[in-house]
Amino acid sequence: MASATAAGTGPSPEGPPVPVAPKSRRSVTGTRRTVAALFLLPALVLLGALVVYPIGYSLIRSFYDQSGDAFAGFDNYEALFTDDGIRTALKNNVVWVVFAPTVATALGLIFAVLTERVRWGTAFKLVVFMPMAISMLAAGIIFRLVYDQDPDKGVANAVWVGVHDTFAESSAFPKAHPGRQSPLEPAGGGAFVTKQPVALGETVVLPLVGVAPDRMPDGAKQAAPAEPEDGRITGTTWQDFTRGKGSGTPGGVDSTELGYPGMRIEAVKDGEVVASATAAGDGTFTLPAEADGALLRLPADNFKEPYNGLDWLGPSLVTPAVIGSYVWMWAGFAMVLIAAGLAGVPRELLEAARVDGASEWQVFRRVTVPLLAPVLAVVVVTLMINVLKVFDLVFIIAPGSSQDDANVLALELYRKGFASDQPGIASAIAVFLLLLVIPVMWFNVRRLRREVRR
């Protein structure tokens, strides 16, 4: 159906999608049949050998075992639903068929409608349509780069981490922890707490180790011992580690050591935070009188691992990620077909609705979309057929480690048929794929038969 109907969405939608030949198309030339046969021969031979014969071959082969010698009944078809690899592939294919065409079509519709309102709509269409001209291999390489896990290299994670860090503060001291003989102990959940309560007028030391020198915050200055103050609690939190000399004086502020600027310190009494402070560049901090008798806690926020973004190509996200790249390639196709359909929508209808006071959204929802329904159906069905056969993108984008999780039928067919030498099962997959497109084949032929016969 797709081809025939899609063709009808050209600039003259009222014209017949498939031209009807003149009433009597008796050969103008009075050709002999042998001549006709000669004209047809090359096409029919090639089609017969390369398309028709393989269909029959696959059908028969799918009922034979691995070696092809013994009749296997429906064993290969049973494997379609019992083999783990194929079941994952089937499940993923369902996800693909449901989401990829609908998302691409929805985007195509939005773009087609919106580009009518800007002067540079043509340039926009070119940009979105362009990926259709390149190979799925190139698109695959493009998206392998986009989805690189390292936020310093993959643009998807760079953006994602950027957005994340704007809303969630990142911590400055990921691997910091108490050294030996430290006054601090782990308090669960990644926080650290002093073993002894603090008293007014005391100076407290909160030494930690473990922050790599190149990861120290830029504001870190030479650590300074705190000055005692009456009616307050003062202290220092710093990196108690001197390069080359081990830890210097353990628990003592040495001149070579750096403070922990921005470290948050909480005074906790009976589980309640009674006061808090933030360390300065030299690691010193001051707590008010309320902190008397409290334990000092360095909350876990200080030590969170930096956020590294999503594992796009890991087992759980790989299929959505590859579908994303497919949508990048095919939304332009949907957009162009829908834009062509849109050009055929009578403007007066939209205008009439506007004059009647309909909002733009209502015009879109109640007039434009229903009028475009046939085109939308063609686009969705076309993309569904296309998606059933998706191979290259999955094969290229999914790394070896998650290819099992990203598996689809076309890829499984390739693996079974050419990597693990199981042509019986591969043929069964092929026949299954063919069965899925037969309704469309039937629709195409039926539709055309009417037009050819007219």
């Binding site: 797709a2 081809s3 047809l40 096409a43 056969k389 084949m441 032929v445």
Partner: protein
């Protein structure tokens, strides 16, 4: 028939909003202006979103490999001195890559020409010759439009193995021709059927034979459809990886397969993959920009493939 399909440049006639606008209040006009601004911003963001992946590939291909390994491509915006054609130079010295590029050409050109010629012969026969069961034969061919190539991989691999075509450029070409033909016959038959009968009869009266009629009248008149078909098939074959992955060997593999074999070491060989992918994209993109109109109509007619 589909040859005068919408080019990308189609913009719908501006909506005749004047009359409506006159009746609108200032408030709703302001709201409209604001939403117009939103639309512009939205489309710009989307356009950027669509461009960034390709720009990333291009810039990655223009950076030295040690920089690619160390940081993201966007670093060139602050350090433009990184840009270099080094990787491209290295790539063109790589015998595997250059010979696979030649193979791509050696596969694509004949596969395109053959599909056009064989498809046109059959399309003409279906449109203008008289023989029993003509329409049924044509419908059978149309039915083959949606057959997935996957169905044929194993059987044809075996067939080619028997007749010695496996691993050769010829095998790859033939496979592409076979699977390009249903669309070619469908498109060209429908286009040829629209040729005015008088033209063919006049040529016939002048004493032109069937072959001459085909070559001198039908083919030239079919120009637009042939262009669409040719461009579509060209891009299809040029961009193919799956068929070549199975039917070619290391000596006959096109660029797509040569690059695919590099995917295993992904991460360490961006200096091969990125420029390689970009080189493989240059010709399709040039064809796309030069023949937008024909490409779009080909895509629209060949939606099913």
């Amino acid at each position: 028939m589909t040859t005068d399909a919408e080019p990308l440049a189609t913009t719908a006639p501006p909506a005749p909003e004047r009359t409506a606008r006159a009746k609108q209040s200032l408030g709703s006009r302001l709201a409209e202006a604001a939403s117009g601004g939103l639309v512009r911003v939205f489309l710009m963001v989307v356009g950027l979103f669509w461009l960034v992946p390709t720009i990333g590939l291009l810039l990655s291909s223009l950076r030295p490999s040690q920089d690619v390994a160390a940081s993201g491509w966007w670093e060139v915006f602050t350090k433009p001195s990184q840009l270099t054609f080094e990787s491209y130079g290295e790539l063109l010295k790589n015998g595997d890559i250059t010979s696979s590029l030649l193979n791509t050409v050696a596969i694509t050109v004949p596969a395109t020409v053959l599909v056009v010629v064989v498809g046109a012969l059959a399309g003409y026969a279906f449109a203008w010759m008289d023989f029993p069961g003509r329409d049924w034969w044509f419908l059978a061919v149309v039915g083959l439009l949606v057959v997935p190539v996957q169905v044929a991989l194993i059987p044809v691999a075996e067939l080619f193995g028997k007749i010695g075509l496996f691993g050769s450029v010829v095998g790859v070409i033939l496979f592409h021709v076979g699977f390009g033909l249903p669309f070619a016959v469908f498109l060209l038959r429908n286009f040829f059927a629209e040729i005015p009968r008088e033209l063919l009869e006049a040529a016939r009266l002048d004493g032109a034979g069937e072959l001459r009629l085909f070559a001198r009248v039908v083919m030239p008149l079919g120009g637009p459809a042939i262009a669409s078909l040719g461009i579509f098939q060209f891009l299809w074959v040029w961009n193919d990886m799956l068929v070549a992955l199975i039917f070619s060997d290391s000596g006959s593999q096109p660029i797509t397969v040569a690059l695919q074999t590099q995917m295993r070491q992904f991460g360490n060989n961006i200096d091969v993959l990125a420029p390689g992918a970009f080189i493989s994209m240059v010709i399709p993109l040039a064809v796309f920009f030069a023949f937008q109109r024909q490409f779009v109509s080909g895509v629209m007619a060949g939606a099913v493939k």
